[in-house]
Amino acid sequence: MRYFIVIFLSTFTFTTAQTEFSLEDFEMPESPAFVLLDEAPSIITRPNSSQALALHILQNFEGSLFNDIAVSFTPYWFIKDKDKNPLRYYGITAEGEQNPFSKLNKATISAAYNKTEDSITNVALGARVTLFELKRQSDVLDLQNAHNEAVAYTKIVSNLRIAFQQESGMIPGEDGFDEAFAAYKTEKLQNFERDSITILDVLHRKPMLAVDAAVGYNHRFSGDTFNNGETARFGAWTTAVFSSYLNPSASKNYLNIYAFARYLHDETLTSPLLNNSEEIESFDLGIKAEFEFERLTFGYEYISRSGDGDTYRSAGNIGYRLSDALYLSGTFGNNFGETDDLITLFGIRWGFTTDGQQLPLADTLQN
């Protein structure tokens, strides 16, 4: 039996600019590197959002600190592109037509470090991309409306700032300008009401259908010796998910049905059909059903493994968001293999907010 505490330290941006982070719309750590190492709470999963840079730490109660660490980043957020614009980012046109392939350029790359109790050090690299995503037409319509409303609001604020400069004679950048304009804006907009559905509300809704692909490679070292390094695992897998609202009026409640297929080349396992030192080629096929409510998520996954050794994984997952900064999860079931195959994972995820208003990017843009 293994107990894990999962610390999810998110949003480690390169600077300390003010970044409010909420776990409300983010899922458990699911980096391909962790999935390949079988360290993720659930094998069959797909995130609905990607972060520019994130750090995941899993901590075994019985081991020392920082035995399991993964970092992931999404290069898209660090690429300059003159053609970036909001509609292209959403994957829709002004007329409401969808581009189901709009997330192909938002691949996430991850790397993981894991040290086992028997002094095996694993290093894994992984990548994941959404190949296809189809939104509901009602969500596209909501997205258009929320976007148009935000565009109109932006123009209002822009005009207010011009008016403030004309009335006050102050120039942006001079001492007190930002504070004075903030007060001016608050006064002018005190009776201005925005629509209740925001763009992020709609973007965080699960698409009706999505297909992800991922790949991972794991190299392991025994006895803390570099020369003992050897290939451990290579895997490539795809995950398809169909999401249906449980209640159309509560868009954060879903029934998610997953299908999963994975090819795995594994040099760490032994097959009853082969000598212990043989490499194992296996093919996994899995399904998962998951109920997702605003705070509570529970589901069941079953994965059948064929190839050089038939086995299966059968596990139930449950997650509960205690607050915007604290998330609990648990997994119980049978893992692949014949022995030591009981999964009992307990996870806690923390998120936190950083403060500080000095934005180094001002230097980036101004120098």
Binding site: S22, V151, L200, L365
Partner: protein
């Protein structure tokens, strides 16, 4: 940072401005030419929310000489997850281009001022170019 300049000359050639913005945030650009307390609106970006201003005549060189061109870009980040806003801003593409002067086109990419609201939802980029 000292205010940058663009030589427009003193003839009747049309001086034009173009702004190119590449970012996933909602962007609105507005341009004025200013002399003292006299503000003259030149052009706004189109309503497609990308902040781009196509090459647009401002006025003639002789009319503009001595004035300041002011470009205000308002970025609304409410469509981007808070965790990704800073990276999006750091990696935005921004070019201001002026044409029509005796030395031809000149592109500017640095802003004079960046103001970030407390919640990082609104960011303002200010650029002034002295027309000489």
């Amino acid at each position: 940072m000292a205010i940058q300049t663009y030589e427009v000359g003193t003839n009747s050639n049309p001086i034009k401005v173009q702004v190119e913005v590449g970012i996933d945030a909602i962007a609105h650009t507005t341009i004025y030419n200013i002399k003292g307390s006299d503000w003259n609106h030149v052009v706004d970006s189109l309503d497609d929310a990308n902040g781009d201003v196509p090459l647009t005549p401002i006025s003639t060189a002789v009319d503009l000489v001595g004035k300041t061109l002011y470009v205000q870009i308002t970025l609304n980040f409410e469509n981007i997850d808070p965790a990704n806003r800073e990276a999006a801003l750091e990696n935005m593409v921004l070019y201001y281009t002026l044409t029509g002067g005796p030395n031809g086109a000149k592109a500017f990419s640095k802003v004079d001022n960046t103001s970030v609201e407390d919640d990082f939802e609104m960011v303002y980029l200010d650029k002034r170019i002295k027309l000489i």
